[in-house]
């Protein structure tokens, strides 16, 4: 049997090597920024509880020793548009992080936000060979999952077993050692464009680092922004990025759905630039400094200097009221959230027992967006920030860094994937021998 995930296994091998060396970097390649964190992995376990810090869950086994952030270059909608530019950006971020960490990093885990991630639910069922379920049975049931035809030019990004059922009992997380005849498995598979992964591989190769893993950014930010009970009871994480907005639904600590809306903060900026006749930089500044989604009567009186550097004095002295700005921003943000809502509805988010929606990502910093989101998603909406991680600089602890922090969690304590299990052993020779013995017994 040919292993369809040999490259994923190779990356796991890389990750193991990095764990042994004790230093690994995570790289979040976004549309607006590239963030690199250098993690020092210490298997010594959680350090004693400090007064101000509560329990550290999965984020205790490592420490951030270097962080570097730079403006992203050559990335559009989360996909690499100009390779050399992107390489420069990655190099800049990596160099800054390495310099802060005073360590050389050879293994990098990246997360991708573009690439049109699609998620599939898979199911498989096999007979248990022995009396109890062993590891090989799990491998077989996962191999027995009917893989949909996800088309050429797509790669499997995640393939996670999310549920096991043994005979009539379902909801098992680990059926090994249990007695049963029929083992069934539900898997969640995420595919992504092969070209994007290959481009990222090439970029990293040109930066002299090895790719030790790859994860979807919506998955990573969900890992960081959702708290334990949300992950357990069911919640959706909406990662409002610059180029794309990722959606991921979690239940029972597993991601069961992910999707990407190819709209984000950059579109808001573009709207402002078009509406106010300013360049993108000025529009971005106006958006971040004065932006909002909820207009009040005060905002009519609050006049914003547009500024600009066109050289035309009249043009650069224009002012708009904040209400006008909100009038530009709100429809676009509404559109994004409506789109996200559509994706959630398509995924059947309404059927989950808990319908918590967590907004994170840089776009979640627009003031009043939680109110707007509550109108669209329902009342259970909150703004999420990434979990606390040891050594993370204050500047990199905002919602925009959910993806990076989640990726650090995944780097040190990854969830089970298809490729974490051995290939099912081909027991054909043994079986044929047994059949020969049986025939001998029956006939003599």
């Amino acid at each position: 049997m040919i292993d369809p995930y040999s490259s994923q296994r190779a990356m796991r091998q890389m990750r193991r090597a990095a764990m042994q060396r004790g230093v690994i970097a995570v790289l979040d390649i976004g549309t607006y920024k590239v963030a690199a964190l250098v993690l020092k992995v210490d298997p010594s376990g959680p350090e004693p509880k400090a007064a101000s810090i509560g329990n550290l869950g999965g984020q205790a086994g490592f420490r951030v020793i270097g962080a570097g952030t730079t403006r992203s270059r050559g990335v559009r909608l989360g996909e690499i548009a100009a390779m050399s530019e992107t390489e420069t950006a990655l190099r800049t971020a990596l160099q800054a992080a390495q310099k802060m960490a005073q360590t050389r990093v050879d293994h990098v885990i990246v997360c991708v936000s573009g690439g049109a991630t699609r998620s599939y639910g898979l199911a498989g069922e096999v007979d248990v060979e022995g009396s109890t379920v062993v590891e090989n049975d799990i491998s077989r049931v996962m191999a027995a999952c009917d893989v949909p035809d996800f088309g050429v030019g797509r790669d499997v990004l995640h393939a996670q077993p999310i549920n096991f059922a043994l005979d009539h009992r379902t909801g098992l997380s680990d059926p090994r050692g249990q007695i049963g005849q029929r083992l069934a498995c539900d898997m969640h598979m995420v595919t992504v464009d092969t070209s994007l992964v290959q481009n990222i591989c090439n970029c990293l190769k040109r930066c002299d680092v090895e790719l030790a893993g790859i994860a979807g950014s919506s998955y990573a930010s969900g890992m960081a922004a959702l708290v334990e009970d949300e992950k357990e009871l069911g919640a959706a994480c909406v990662d409002l990025g610059a180029g794309t907005s990722g959606v991921s639904i979690f239940i029972k600590k597993h991601m069961i759905f992910t999707d990407t809306v190819r709209l984000g903060g950059a579109h808001v900026t573009l709207d402002i630039a078009k509406g106010l006749q300013v360049d993108m930089t000025t529009a971005e500044r106006i958006k971040t400094v004065h932006g909002g989604v909820q207009a009040t009567s005060m905002d009519d009186r609050e006049m914003i200097e547009i500024g600009g550097n066109s050289g035309d004095w009249e043009k650069d002295r224009r002012t708009v009221s904040r209400a006008e700005l909100i009038g530009i921003m709100r429809p676009r943000i509404e559109e994004i959230l409506e789109d996200v809502r559509a994706r959630l509805d398509a995924a059947g988010f309404g059927c989950l027992p808990s319908q918590q929606v967590v907004l994170t990502g840089g776009g979640a910093q627009v003031p009043g967006i939680d109110g707007l989101a509550a109108r669209i998603f329902g009342q259970q909406v909150r703004l999420g920030r990434p979990v606390r991680v040891r050594g993370l600089p204050q500047a990199a602890s905002g919602p925009a860094f959910s993806g990076s922090v989640g990726l650090s969690l995944l780097a040190t304590s990854p969830q089970d994937e298809w490729w974490d299990f051995e290939l099912p052993t081909q027991s054909y020779p043994a079986r044929s021998l047994r059949r020969a013995v049986k025939w001998f017994r029956d006939n003599w």
């Binding site: 403006r71 190099r91 390495q98 360590t103 002299d208 550097n309 905002g398 925009a400």
Partner: protein, 438 residues
């Protein structure tokens, strides 16, 4: 919501200073709200990037647009000069700078086509001021220009080239880092040393130089040993010791090898132990223990004076010079002085009949008595054989009789050799006895 006291001032500067009135308190309330600023989390890096998006620092040289003539009334609207210099205030500074330039005639008032048709005045101006600015004393904010250049440099530094990236990675590799920080200097030092010491001339020059420095310290008069102090002793001995030491003096005490001198003095025959000390004021004190004469040995070289161990002390002119010492003779006698002294002790009962000892065949002793008598002793057990003879003498006066030698070479069979006259006497007595019997 973060409290307002944690508000990042850098961000505040960079974000609000574009207001032309320059009063930050006039910024809208939303600008002071930290939650909304996306770039807040990126910290100073982003603030700098924003601040440098500025028409003055960003424009390359050939494309510098010539500003339209600015009416003087607008200059009054420009912000005061004391306001903080940030990216978004730069336009006003530019306008004022242009205005000042127009007034001083540095810059042409009318628009000039960029493609080559520039008037010479502008070109001269460009040549002097690369960025198209009038001279420095006319430009109000020199510090702003400096800051702009610094930002430009920083922007360059922000984007590492692939080479600098690789170099940094190499530098962060512990092996290379150690090699470069420790190995390289050490290797350079070794190479320099080896190249210096490669030529023999330089080696000699270096050693000569070192010797000079050493001598400058060592050969100071304070360290010089000039005087030899000896106790009272025989003049010949004193002469000999002076003969050893005097050629060395005067010499620095650092260079004086006292052990060597001591061994050379102890090589003198008459000296058993020598003791050399350096005293203050450059005095070398030598004290010696002389060997005590114990025996005289008549050898082929003459009459040697030996001490108790058989070491030669000197020569005696004749026997009478040292009448108290016993005498031995014969080849190899000098090597057996302790045994000879034991024999002399044992022969005390013989009194002055004892003449001396003779070593025979380098293996055994003969005791020589007066009247030419000899006691021939064996190789081993010589003292016991002599005591045997002395016992016979004391009992029967053997040696007082007319015998030539008492031969004890075989202790089990002592033999007395009697003289010729005694033999005849015995024969006569025997013949008389037989005649009497007949």
């Amino acid at each position: 919501m973060r409290p307002l006291d944690q508000f990042d001032p850098h961000h505040e500067d960079g974000a609000t200073s574009h207001h032309s009135d320059g009063h930050e308190s006039d910024a809208p309330l939303s600008a002071l709200s930290p939650e909304m600023s996306f770039w807040d989390h990126l910290g100073a890096t982003r603030a700098d990037e924003y601040a440098q998006d500025d028409i003055l620092t960003g424009i390359p040289l050939p494309d510098v647009p010539v500003m339209p003539a600015v009416p003087l009334s607008m200059v009054d609207m420009a912000p005061p000069r004391s306001m903080p210099q940030h990216g978004f205030t730069r336009l006003d500074d530019t306008l004022r700078a242009r205005e000042a330039a127009v007034e001083t005639g540095h810059l042409l008032r009318e628009r000039v086509p960029v493609d080559g048709g520039r008037p010479d005045a502008l070109r001269r101006d460009r040549a002097r001021h690369p960025a198209g600015f009038p001279s420095a004393q006319d430009v109000p904010p020199p510090e702003a220009r400096a800051a702009g250049m610094a930002r430009k440099n920083r922007r360059k530094a922000h984007l590492p080239s692939r080479l600098s990236y690789r170099i940094q990675r190499v530098w962060l590799t512990p092996f290379y880092r150690r090699a470069i920080k420790i190995g390289l200097p050490a290797a350079a030092c070794m190479v320099a040393l080896a190249m210096t010491l490669a030529s023999a001339d330089r080696r000699m020059a270096i050693s000569a130089q070192a010797e000079t420095v050493y001598a400058a310290f060592v050969d100071r008069p304070d360290f010089m040993v000039t005087e030899l102090r000896l106790p009272d002793m025989a003049p010949e001995l004193e002469q000999a010791i002076r003969g050893v030491i005097t050629p060395e003096l005067p010499k620095s005490s650092w260079r004086l090898d006292l052990d060597d001198l001591r061994s050379r003095i102890e090589l003198l025959d008459a000296i058993l132990v020598a003791d050399l000390r350096l005293l203050s004021d450059g005095v070398l004190a030598v004290s010696v223990t002389e060997r005590v004469p114990a025996i005289l040995w008549r050898s082929a070289d003459g009459l040697e004076v030996l001490d108790i161990e058989g070491m030669r002390i000197g020569f005696a002119p004749d026997r009478t010079a040292l009448p108290d010492l016993p005498v031995i003779a014969g080849e190899g006698g000098g090597a057996q002085v302790p045994e000879a002294l034991d024999l002399f002790d044992a022969a005390t009962p013989l009194g002055d009949r004892m003449r001396g000892l003779v070593r025979v065949g380098e293996r055994r002793w003969d005791v020589v008595l007066d009247r030419g008598q000899r006691v021939k002793l064996p190789e081993t057990g010589a003292v016991a054989a002599l005591e045997h003879v002395i016992a016979l003498e004391q009992a029967q006066d053997v040696l007082a009789r007319d015998i030539l030698a008492a031969d004890m070479r075989n202790p089990a069979r002592p033999v007395l050799q009697i003289s010729e006259g005694a033999m005849e006497t015995i024969r006569d007595i025997r013949s008389q006895n037989t005649e009497a019997l007949q």
